[in-house]
Symmetry: C2
Subunit: 448 residues, 2 copies
């Protein structure tokens, strides 16, 4: 038997890395809850039909079949695949449970998704997303488009990671502008402008001309895409391009509200960036992409937007606005750059040393007493020499070793970082609060 | 478009149920960490070959294929399937990362697993498991067999669910007993005894006779299986059956330690139950099954045991002991019996009412101030009449509504359960601590 190899595109972390990821996820989840978002979790699979309907990603879907199929009620006969995002399952969940949900629904969802695409940096076959959406029935006030980036910024700012900047644009603004220019079909223009970062302005201009735009139209489109401001001054710069259209006015108004709300509540963390296009057709208002300072090359780590129809049954539509944080993309990048550290490899705060095997039961009682007071403790695997038991703790970063003295009392506890050893009572001793849990922090030296 | 239907075997919860499940999982995880177990998470997929090697479950495996395959590096060409438990991926993970792990390794893992079997009560196609294992290199002291059930009992006792009882047996005890009876191959005997609960003693006796046991042998095997004690007195009852064998002695000694340790640290929560067989061949020492009081019919909600070879490379083996809590089985049963409640449908503690739309920004500031002090808050969706905003909070179980009075100060907060309304300062007001988070509790009336 040979050692198994890692599978490209399916990242896995060592225990101390997973402890970091868990703290990141817990911080994000608790921030979402502070903002009143309730959790849901959906099954990993959706009917293939529902997945394929979403178009763009059909060749990336993993379908399931049973190794030995044949049962009558086999669900794979209907065709099941793994979800490739959390939006498609959420839309289905809303339709399925609409009668039991309260709208506007504020929900978050932190789960894995799967895509069969070729792995590369920042692109995985299995990855974790943290989504928030607010969804209404038939209508949804547009102040939620200003609120959502504040929630995301709040969640990510609480982490020891580089600052995030949210880049916002508005589909109505762009489409109104194109219509005002006399362009009938905005979709191919949006798709071309979306390639600006990768292909550069010359190539995009060529694409726009190929679509059939005049030189003046193409120049205006590129002029629009160059506008990026931290305040509402983008509006004047758009107007200066001399295009007018009622939809453009609506878009400018909506984006102004997003920018001004962010300036008030999270100054410097959001900008209007009129080159942000987002590939997906279903966005109808604000769209967002977000970048980690110093790690822009990995791509957007939180994207989303406003959609007028997440789902529809009969005459009822479910408009919403959502953003999705790419947890795996963030962790993969920061682990790769050695940008995050944790000061222990295990959750344990105290290793209770075992003087001799018959004393294990007394050691268990000491550990149980510490745990009752919230102090993570484990008992040493074997009654080795104390030096060996200290090295056992040291290798794992466990900060304290407890030396039981038996019935007579007189236990001592050693801080193995300083070597300081003191008498300690198992019913009252506690470490300084920062030692209770492993601490995640940004590495001092990082290789970006 | 019609409303989608739920998929049999793939349970999903409403948001308030998911809040309950998340609290259950968080309590289990933090108890595991208090005991010094570090988290890992493995990818959802394993090579098909590795999954099929586990025998018994081969017809239940979901294999993956891409909707449009054909890329050169397509991992599905090697054959990938969804894991059906967390043990197979953990074994692979240990082999893959052995050089970077510290042994004995204490790890926990809380994840979904998938089986394509026919759904029935307590059996799902997608389900969540919470596993703990302690794994050593080449050797592992047997005190861990006494420790693991204490960890599980500690985790589940912290929840508002019915008490758990762990039933423990020992493979060496059973195999030594069978050998002492002159039975050469214990495996088919174990498999027959494993059916005792479902088939009853008469049917099992018949199975044992069909395997080739004499009437006296079958009677002795059934006699052994009838022994169940909360203390070490099981040993005398085994000896009274008049069988002797060195392996039997070892097994009795090991199980005695498990029972006595549990009696000291968790009295009444574990019993020696010599009918527990566990189907899987790889167990070599203690085996466990566990039942929720009043819900025994759903089957074991936490099972596991000691194995001498979790994995092997060359001459190196990785012995371990593990237990796996069936989260979905517990939740499905308790939700079905209405045995758990939560006092809110959302995490929100305070709804900030909006007197008029231009005041939203001031309302946002109030909510942000509350959140900075750990109080979950959301701002009302629209500036409706206050009665309507109170009903909005009431439908969700949000306990407090905040009424801003604008620049002049004089805000008030209303406890909508009592109707009491009082002046409140957004910089200092706090609810009583139990109102900060939604509370999960056992329902007073349950239908079991």
């Amino acid at each position: 038997v040979t050692r198994p190899q890692a599978l490209s595109g399916f990242p896995e972390w060592l225990p101390h890395e997973r402890m970091i990821e868990q703290q990141v996820i817990a911080t994000i989840a608790s921030t979402f809850e502070l903002h009143g978002f309730a959790p849901i979790e959906t099954r990993a699979v959706e009917p293939t039909e529902r997945l394929v309907h979403q178009g763009e990603t059909d060749k990336e879907i993993y379908l399931l079949h049973r190794l030995q199929a044949g049962e009558d009620d086999d669900p794979t006969r209907a065709g099941l695949g793994l979800h490739f995002d959390l939006t498609v399952p959420f839309a289905r969940y809303v339709l399925e449970n609409a009668g039991k949900l309260n709208f506007p629904l504020r929900r978050y969802q932190i789960q894995k998704a799967w895509r069969g695409e070729r792995p590369q940096e920042g692109r995985y076959r299995e990855f974790c997303q943290a989504d928030i959406d607010v969804v209404g029935v038939d209508t949804l006030p547009d102040h939620y488009e200003a609120e959502l980036p504040l929630v995301v910024v709040d969640a990510l700012s609480a982490l020891p990671i580089p600052p995030i900047r949210v880049h916002a644009n508005n589909r109505r603004l762009a489409e109104g502008f194109y219509r005002g220019l006399g362009i009938d079909d905005p979709a191919p223009v949006l798709r071309a402008v979306d390639k600006l970062d990768k292909a550069g302005p010359a190539a995009v201009e060529e694409m726009l001309r190929e679509i059939g735009l005049s030189g003046a139209q193409a120049t205006a489109c590129l002029g629009l895409a160059e506008i990026a401001t931290e305040d509402a001054s983008f509006a004047d710069r758009v107007r200066a391009l001399g295009v007018s259209d009622p939809l453009l006015d609506t878009g400018i108004e909506e984006l102004t509200r997003v920018v001004e709300t962010a300036r008030e509540h999270a100054p410097g963390l959001l900008l209007a960036d009129l080159r942000i296009a987002r590939g997906l057709d279903y966005y109808t208002g604000t769209v967002y992409e977000s970048f980690l300072t110093g790690h822009e090359s990995v791509g957007s780590i939180c994207s989303g937007g406003r959609y007028d129809t997440l789902a529809q049954v009969g005459d009822t539509t479910y408009p919403g606005v959502g953003m999705s944080i790419g947890i795996t993309r963030i962790m993969g990048r920061l682990f790769g750059a050695n940008a995050l550290t944790i000061n222990r490899k295990v959750p344990t705060c105290v290793l209770v040393a075992v003087p001799e095997e018959p004393a294990r039961s007394a050691c268990n009682r000491i550990a149980a007493g510490l745990r009752r007071r919230g102090i993570a403790a484990e008992v040493a695997p074997e009654p080795a020499k104390y030096g060996k038991q200290i090295r056992f703790a040291d290798r794992r970063g466990i900060p304290y070793v407890w030396f039981p003295q038996g019935e007579s009392g007189g236990d001592e506890v050693r801080d193995i970082r300083s070597g300081e050893q003191q008498p300690a009572d198992p019913d009252t001793w506690a470490p300084p609060a920062p030692d209770l849990r492993p601490t995640v922090s940004a590495s001092k030296e990082t290789a970006t």
